[in-house]
Symmetry: D3
Subunit: 150 residues, 6 copies
């Protein structure tokens, strides 16, 4: 099993604020991230694909197909945007980086596999770097991967 990871970058704004909580609770939970009008980040997004080596090409997956998928499903929606406005992505959830990881995994997973040539390649992990100090990762549990593999 080999892992291929591809790095993308996008810039977006967000505000961490849950309307179901009071202003005081929001301030306690989210601190300055609850400031009105929001703030922003240069997000670094890493998509990891796991699969066997295809002997004909010496590749695990097709980078051009991955780029197209990430461009269409993720970057066109989120780059240069205010995340709180992207309701089709967050479905009324607070756009924390944890929810961002899950949302991106689900957006890509719904269109997977994007390339028929590498049928055994799986979407393995989504990693979001929010700042130089905070990283978030979501990996699908191993048993779900194998169930899907049937």
């Amino acid at each position: 099993m080999l892992y291929l990871t591809r790095r993308y970058r996008f810039s977006a704004a967000h505000r961490l604020y849950n309307d179901a909580l009071t202003a005081e609770e929001n301030a306690r939970v989210y601190g300055k991230c609850a400031n009105p009008y929001g703030h922003g980040h240069n997000y670094v997004l890493e998509i990891a694909v796991a699969g066997p080596l295809d002997p004909a090409t010496g590749m695990v997956y097709d980078l051009a197909a991955l780029d197209q998928l990430v461009q269409r499903e993720v970057l066109e929606r989120l780059d240069e945007s205010y995340l709180n406005q992207q309701e089709d992505v967050f479905h009324h959830l607070v756009p924390t980086s944890e929810n961002l990881c899950l949302a991106i995994f689900n957006l890509l997973s719904a269109e997977w596999p994007a390339n028929g040539r590498f049928p055994q390649a799986k979407l393995h992990r989504v990693r979001v770097e929010e700042t130089n100090s905070n990283f978030f990762e979501y990996e699908e549990p191993a048993h779900e991967n194998s169930r899907k593999g049937k």
Copy 2:
């Protein structure tokens, strides 16, 4: 002459949009950066101080004094903020990174020197890294530095 550079980080949102221009002109000049609601960045800020070596301490400037100045004048205003709302910083200017460089230089310059122990140390340069690909720098012209030194 020695140079000391100190790096700071802050996260903010901005929207590049000039109300004096039409929506079409804004789109042509600023591209996706004119999107409504704004987007954001993790700004990397580098402040360079130039000065002679103080023989008693072996230092060019006092980092703790610089940290306090930058914290009070810059980070408390801009970190986790929506830059377009910071009118006392931008004075109705569009918060491009060029204007951000100049605004930060002026904020620090107005309080300079922050530490009387190093009277010859000058604020030399402000550098703002907006994304992994774009950097902006402002250096005060040499003759103004010398005029101030009188």
Copy 3:
């Protein structure tokens, strides 16, 4: 399961020298790291927490609580210190980065969970970057995690 990783930095000195070995053996095992008076590093410390997504906050853990814990248990002891002098941390062990990983994991683990709001979040991994070329990681074995989870 989501993973949140937070990066910290500290600067410290150490000397790799085991008093139970001869000077020749120390030189053979530790090379120049056995030099008298020690040398130092800018350590990069990454703490990974694993847990489910808390639906109310969209978070895996509370970063402010993690910061306080790491500040109090790790950074106040080790930053700007000579590691060989920190006997309550190393318990007479040689302060290699392997022992540093384990010591930091144990310091944090003894106070875990630091925040009652996220009872299922676990301390997952400690990673220490000693130089630009050497990284060390300690992960608690999976079975111990599940035993603790009962």
Copy 4:
């Protein structure tokens, strides 16, 4: 179980072209990477070793022994080379970074353990960073590790 990772760098050229395919198929699979005369990269190579802590030294493995092994088996062959010419490494395979990962794992594995003092330390993972955006990893499956451990 602790993990030690050591980073190396080398510069090489390669051309992605499979003689068993037509020129059109090569262009479709490899894009501009199939350009005649090849192109090149600064490869970042990370070798991870997993093992228990040796109580006498506080170490997982001997970095000097690892450096010698990687220098002799990998860097002397590949640094400043044209990978397609290194037939003893690639055995007529296309020098994709996936094949490079596997080839380096096999080169090191054939000489493992390079140091008798740490008999339980295993070669755990080879990671190749091809560009600032593409990373590749190979880990030996868990069961093979334990089979070897007998």
Copy 5:
């Protein structure tokens, strides 16, 4: 005067070998970089533009115009290429990174200014990062800048 710097990346191969020298002289001057078939790098290219702030836009230059110019004049020629084959760029010179800096400066300078909106903006500096350890810069001398400014 403000400086805007934009970072680009490309991957290419080169061989340092001067046909006017003997093989022994080439080996002495260029070391392993003279190996037959060449080797390669991930080049990081930084283009710095200097100019006054345009008050209408708050910008020094138009990044989209700079991107188009660099794409057309530099990246389309050099990315995924074997530099020694690019005779229209190197004019039979050895493709060292010093010559690469100069060649890129000249390619861009010949088409400057690429955008009529910022007539005072000057091409200030070309910086090429060849590896993680080697950087090269070319700046046009100050008097030539001012002569052009007439």
Copy 6:
């Protein structure tokens, strides 16, 4: 005029403490950096050389000669050392990074030019990165460069 910059790394310990001051003054000036036993850093050292392009080689300077000079004059003395003990380098000065910059410039300058093939190449700048946040630079004044050039 072209600039070539070469990056080196070394690890060392230091303590910022001036015996001519009281303990209280040392604490006020140097903060935690005055802690007994010292602490340490992974220093990143960049040496910049300025010169014309040598047409025969396409080079500004000989990297192998620079590496030998830096290895012998700087790294053998300072790597894995306690800087306060290196009296032939610091001449009883406090080993701040400012003094370190100057000391390294002087060590290299005393042996310059290290390579007769590039007689016009000058030692231009020494830059020391002490931590991820602090950088120090020393450049010889322009008039001294020209005086030497006679």
